[in-house]
Symmetry: C2
Subunit: 446 residues, 2 copies
């Protein structure tokens, strides 16, 4: 019987997923429906494919959500995360399995029993982070546990960055995905465990609290902790591990310069600034600095943050036109919105630019012979173009493979599922190699 697969959302990160499924639709006799609020965009992505159909789809129209879910066999949601509960609830109602790349929210978690009763799987966290990070970590964790090793430390970090060949600004950074998420990253305390001791780092100290690492072929990186590493002890079956830290990868020197914005309060998204549309970049920075009759903005910044401001940080700030009288034209904006607008002018991808996804796991462990060892497992994926980015590939392909597995009934789990079990991660990781998505693993004795 022809399987009908609905993909909701035709945005940038859906391209690789759509192409993968359209190609296999011919082989497996699937019908692909691609829904987007922007019908033209969906039509462009289907590009006249015989097995594809574009429709105008409005997630705010509950009747349409229910009709699309009920008319298809399988629902893949690439919509913004906030809409997933609504889709999931409809999937439960019509007993249709669903797949997404987003985090399991507490609301969706609460659908566990209903999903099981309906006999459907809600497969989530199937992108890159979360997604490939879970799969690749669990493959090593399960192997080490099977070999009788005891894991004493696990560090896992991912970064969406500009590929080295196109890295041509002093920040070694460009926006390769949602700028707003980059500006707000890390807000709230970061929680991890180190040598058996819980550690809580407030946001205003986060970017001072970095580690360094290197990845073969692409060089040096720094890592700052993500918000909550503690909950991954359960996810990864590492409940008693003494050290676990998940982090974000940036090029060396990024954190120190970004810390200027954190220290100033320029990433705050909780209030609207007065007269934002009448300010310039320089005046924006000055609102966070003490009043002075005769000191320049630069001198006041230096005096306020003597341990941060140095020549390389000033070079980065100046390159952003932060001290220029460039008008900010956004009305009723928060500091974070204004900062984002300043960054977007400078951190945009240029024509021909390609992005990069870098991921690295490090495991310290004692093997069955009481030998202390360390495994480093690294992944680097480059984008193919401004459209087929590394982000779109690494988010879309694992999700697409999982969709194929569910469509072909190779994956028949029910309830809320994340890819931490062998039956999900093994076939996906194996097939990812065909797309050049493969980890480079090194083991040393320590």
């Amino acid at each position: 019987m022809t399987k009908k697969i609905a993909i909701l959302g035709a945005g940038l990160s859906s391209t690789s997923l759509i192409n993968y499924l359209l190609e296999r639709a011919v082989i497996y006799d699937w019908q692909i429906v691609l829904g987007d609020y922007n019908l033209a965009l969906a039509q462009q992505k289907i590009n006249g494919h015989a097995k594809g159909k574009a429709i105008q789809f409005d997630v705010k129209n509950q009747a349409q959500v229910d009709s699309v879910v009920s008319e298809n066999d399988l629902i893949v949601s690439m919509l913004p995360a906030m809409f997933h509960y609504q889709i999931a609830a409809s999937c439960v109602k019509f007993a249709k399995s669903m797949l997404t790349a987003s985090y399991v929210s507490p609301e969706i978690k609460a659908l566990e029993d209903q999903a099981k009763s309906a006999g459907i799987g809600i497969f989530m966290e199937l992108g890159v982070d979360p997604g490939i990070d879970h799969m690749s970590a669990m493959r090593i964790i399960d192997r080490l546990h099977a070999e009788g090793s005891e894991i004493t430390a696990f560090y896992s970090s991912t970064g969406g960055l500009i590929a080295p060949a196109y890295d041509n600004n002093p920040w070694n950074y460009k926006f390769t995905w949602n700028p707003r998420n980059v500006v707000l990253a890390g807000q709230g305390p970061s929680k991890y465990i180190e040598n058996g001791l819980y550690k809580y780092i407030p946001y205003h100290r986060l970017f001072k609290n970095t580690m360094q690492t290197s990845i073969d072929g692409v060089g040096e990186f720094e890592i700052y902790p993500n918000r909550d590493s503690l909950k991954y002890r359960q996810t990864y079956k590492l409940d008693t591990i003494p050290t676990l830290l998940r982090g974000t990868l940036r090029r060396v020197g990024f954190a120190k310069a970004w810390d200027v914005f954190v220290q100033l309060g320029a990433t705050d998204d909780t209030y609207i600034m007065e007269n934002s549309s009448e300010m310039t970049n320089r005046q924006f920075i000055n609102t966070f600095l003490p009043y002075s009759k005769d000191q320049s903005v630069e001198s006041k910044l230096q005096a306020l943050l003597p341990n941060i401001i140095d020549e390389t940080v000033m070079e980065k700030l100046t390159w952003l036109d932060l001290f220029a009288e460039t008008p900010i034209t956004i009305e009723k904006a928060s500091p974070a919105q204004i900062l984002q607008s300043i960054l977007e002018r400078k951190w945009q991808l240029d024509e021909g630019d390609k992005d990069m996804i870098a991921m690295q796991h490090r495991f310290d462990f004692t093997d069955a012979n009481h030998q202390m060892k360390q495994i480093t497992s690294s992944l680097v994926v480059f984008g193919e173009s401004k459209e087929t980015t590394a982000m779109a590939i690494t988010v879309g392909i694992p999700l697409a493979i999982a969709t194929k597995m569910v469509a072909l009934e190779q994956l028949v789990l029910t309830g809320i599922q994340v890819p931490v079990t062998k039956e999900i991660y093994e076939p996906i990781l194996d097939e990812l190699k065909e797309f050049g998505i493969e980890f480079n693993e090194k083991e040393i004795t320590i």
Copy 2:
């Protein structure tokens, strides 16, 4: 006709208010109903007074709220601020005027038209801060404006502190009111205007950003900014003033030591710590410090905050038993809750201790003859006992006087009212003098 006045809430800060109204009930033939969830407490405060009656009152019982409001002529609410909307809505329904010492919330502000239609006044912000601060500031502002002066700067600060004679710890501070509010004070950015420039100070820089002042007879203080000074430009009819800052008064050196908690993240109330009931004070501090195999908590703190930690700060921290292995016994607690419990053991009022309210306004202005001048207006009130605190007196007496004025129909305004108009503040400030609540005003040429 006998006026019936209901007072809701018989807690610590109600004592002065209750006594004032009971005394005048004899003269003016009022009937006072005092409602509290704790009937025994209400009975104790009424103390058999012929004009008083104690009742058990449960604000969560809407039927009882409606019956108390409908059976009385005037409602004075000393309940926690979160209940005021509910009381106000009932007052609108039964067309009874209401008085409180709390801030006007947006929800209550929205009752403006209904209160006017019902012909009732909802009189708020009638305590000390907000309350006496508004009244005393507006008296000077109205006078200066009437004299043709132009106000160029207004600084206004208040502090609830321990009276100098009982000030015997290195922090020069004890809890004289709600400890939770003290621990959470200042969270979120502080907003003010200085020489025509907007200034936004993030919480993590707030306690580094102090001014100093002195008050005759009680010595030196430091001021840190309150959260939102900008909105007072409208309240005080100072829409175009170049400099306006409202702040909190503490003894000199408090802010620097308190900043240790802010920098550590120990005042965070947004998450629950793991195993809080199994920690000691020392371990609590260590959770915010980097891991080290061989450094002490004290050395790590010094290394983390080199510009804050000095001998006097360490003396303050050590005096709090912060480095001691004192067990923290609270389960599932946030950092702020744990910190509060540590502070409550040390900052409690001893038997016989008396508190102090200090308030100071400073106005810089150019008079009608183009002469630049400065007025400093200061208030100091000492508590009479652990029960009749300066806080209870300064919150209760102005509210009680306003209640008398409404009961005697000397104050017949309708809608939501705060004491920024002459007809409210003049008689209250005049009568406050009889209670020793009087500002000391000094004017100098600058």
